[in-house]
């Protein structure tokens, strides 16, 4: 990726210029095609522009930190890039790179390698890419934020659920009275309420998970279109579904028990309004 490299007009040239890859977004925004020849320059004035042939298109690695920013990117061979951007007045510029990516052999000790490299080349900054960085912290924070929002949503839903159950139980006051009058004990009715609560909560939770799975594709497609990215925004994993069910079911049972409590502790005659 080279954000500072600027793209100029396409043109046809007789000799074969060096090849480059362009991002899908750049190809679309500049109406380019594979095989086109474009001129690139390292500065805004377009000085020392060089021509390159588009050899292919690539999809940039989705980066949540750059959500909304169009990935107008070009990939060049390193010598071509250095040739294009190096300051002619600086003799070492053509031999300088910002970073070198190293893949260690399997089982190699990253810390030992970093120490040894640091000792051999003083001033070199060696960083373990597997370690946590700012992007990781951002997503940990977003995760906490989502959790907090879900907590508030769960509280609001619980109140809604409780209100619904209170109304439902109120509607069934006469039925409970008759059940008590014909001899059913409080414990028996309580188990019935518990079982009903369990069935309603399970059905509701499963319906919620099914709805989430159904909406998953739509959400992803909308946001991928909105931000022109391959990022996946919503993913309903079995772990998330299990967590949702494990919160929803006990809450549903609790709501039904809490709502029924006032009926269960009253006498049969009081329930029958006698």
């Amino acid at each position: 990726m080279l954000p500072a490299v600027l793209l100029f007009a396409a043109a046809a040239v007789p000799s074969t210029p060096p090849s480059i890859l362009v991002s899908r977004q750049l190809l679309a925004s500049e109406h380019l095609a594979v095989g086109d020849v474009v001129a690139l320059s390292g500065d805004a004035r377009g000085s020392r522009a060089r021509e390159f042939r588009i050899a292919g298109v690539y999809e940039p690695v989705p980066d949540p930190a750059r959500l909304g920013a169009a990935a107008l990117e070009v990939r060049l061979h390193l010598p071509d890039l250095l040739d294009l951007t190096a300051d002619p007045a600086d003799p070492v510029a053509a031999e300088s790179v910002r970073s070198i990516n190293v893949k260690l052999a399997s089982g190699a000790d990253v810390e030992a390698f970093s120490r040894e490299l640091g000792a051999r080349v003083p001033g070199l900054l060696v960083r373990d890419l597997a370690g946590a960085d700012d992007a990781d912290v951002t997503f940990v924070v977003l995760d906490r934020f989502h959790l907090a929002i879900s907590l508030v949503t769960v509280i609001a839903s619980s109140i809604f659920l409780l209100a619904l159950m209170v109304m439902l139980v109120d509607e069934r006051r006469d039925t409970v009275a008759i059940l008590r009058l014909i001899g059913l004990r409080r414990r028996r009715i309580f188990i019935q309420v518990l079982a009903e609560g369990l069935v309603i909560a399970l059905a509701g939770a499963l319906f919620g998970v099914a709805l989430a799975v159904l909406l998953e594709g739509g959400f992803n497609r909308f946001f991928q279109w909105r931000y022109d990215t391959a990022l996946v925004f919503v993913r309903v994993t079995p772990a998330i579904a299990a967590r949702a069910v494990s919160v929803a079911v006990p809450l549903g049972i609790l709501a039904s028990v809490a709502a029924s409590w006032s009926l269960l502790r009253r006498g049969a005659m009081a329930l029958a309004r006698r």
Binding site: V137, F145, V152, I159, L164, Y227
Partner: protein
């Protein structure tokens, strides 16, 4: 609606206190989330705008429209700044160079410092003086330095204290410049500081000396203050003067930020606002519908006694307004408390300035909140109002009596 309608609606709700309280609590929880989402939808934008305006500069000039890490510097900055300063729309130009430095604390540990160099001759500064004196134009020895509270606290610095900085301003490349001893002239606040950032500022010349820079005079950015209300004209003039530079007014920066920066939060606030409103609508509709269903006989009796159709319909609407109104009022303090909690979670994100807020209060958010809840109350009452208005009096009374 007359006071009688309100009093009657209140009595109707009071007859089923548990249900009414749950309804109000449900609206309060939903309303609090809605209020927070409204604050979140523009919070970053509002606080970002406030930060941009804080130092009194309304135009920024950079060398290229590229990310900060890859952006070239403005070459021959002294001549460029003088040319921009000479424009009639421009009141003042401050050149700024950004870099890093390190300092050894009293415990022997090295601390990374965000280091910036600025023109010392200007009236405006890219920081706000909190304590001590600002940088002067005189060439005193040791050179003057301003530090933020974080750095002052970490190293126990006060105005008059001395500190040695080792410059590292070539974006990671090692510099061979010797450490420079500074005297702290003042403690300042840098508007875009992160909560934990240790920042120091000095004059451009001393910055160059610390960083071992040559005398080419490159800078990262020009902060421009236009004459009263002439920011757009100043931007046009700068673009005409130097087409190779990128001049952006605060309005343009905010518009761009709105388009790309943290648009995720605007999207999530839009999604959650819609869901919460739908949720509130469902809650009130269900509560009122069930309540009306249970009161069919009573409503039919009231109609038979002489209550007009409009009167009983208004009663349902008044109940909805009372539920949503009380819940909505409760939702404001609840929402503000929730916003503080969510803000503390989100502020742990890296590179967020301490004075930038995800949830920023605006009167328009309050107005929008009230409007949305009012529309929800009316919409939620529509179905039960329809049930009541079409209630056949005689048939209902007969049916209820038989039951």
């Amino acid at each position: 609606m007359s006071a009688k309608v309100w009093a009657f609606a209140l009595r109707s709700l009071a007859r089923q206190p548990g249900r009414a309280i749950l309804g109000i609590l449900g609206v309060a929880a939903v309303g609090a989330l809605l209020f927070d989402m409204l604050l979140l939808s523009r919070g970053l934008l509002v606080s970002f705008r406030a930060l941009l305006d804080a130092a009194g500069f309304d135009v920024r000039v950079i060398a290229a429209d590229a990310p900060a890490f890859a952006r070239p510097r403005i070459a021959d900055a002294e001549a460029a700044a003088a040319a921009i300063r000479a424009l009639p729309e421009v009141d003042e130009v401050v050149s700024l160079r950004l870099g890093n430095a390190s300092v050894t604390g009293p415990d022997g540990r090295a601390h990374d410092v965000f280091f910036l160099g600025a023109d010392a001759q200007s009236r405006r500064r890219p920081w706000i003086l909190l304590e001590g004196r600002d940088l002067g134009a005189s060439e005193a020895a040791p050179p003057a330095l301003v530090v933020n509270r974080q750095l002052a606290k970490a190293l126990g610095l006060r105005p008059g204290a001395e500190i040695t900085l080792r410059g590292d301003c070539a974006r990671g490349a090692a510099t061979a410049a010797p450490p420079v001893r500074f005297r702290v002239s003042g403690v300042v606040s840098f508007p875009f500081d992160e909560p934990k950032a240790m920042t120091a500022g000095t004059r451009l010349r001393d910055f160059g000396q610390t960083c071992g820079l040559d005398e080419r005079g490159d800078v990262d950015i020009f902060l421009v203050a236009s004459r009263e209300g002439a920011a757009a004209a100043a931007v046009r003039s700068i673009r005409a003067l130097r087409s190779d530079l990128h001049a952006l007014s605060n309005d343009e920066i905010v518009a761009r930020f709105q388009q790309v920066g943290f648009s995720y939060f605007r999207q999530i606030s839009a999604v959650l606002s819609s869901i919460t409103l739908f949720f509130g609508f469902l809650l009130i509709t269900v509560l009122l519908t069930v309540s009306v269903n249970q009161r069919f006989a009573e409503i039919a009796a009231l109609r038979a006694l002489g209550f007009t159709r409009a009167r009983v319909v208004l009663d349902v609407l008044a109940q909805a307004v009372l539920l949503v109104g009380t819940g909505g009022l409760l939702s404001l303090p609840l929402g503000l408390a929730l916003a503080r909690w969510l803000e503390s979670i989100l502020h742990a994100m890296p590179e967020i300035p301490a004075d930038m807020h995800f949830f920023a209060f605006e009167p328009r958010a309050l107005l929008l909140h009230a409007m949305l809840l009012a529309v929800t109350a009316v919409l939620a009452a529509l179905y039960p109002m329809r049930l009541v208005s079409r209630l056949p009096i005689a048939a209902t009374l007969r049916s209820e009596m038989v039951t």
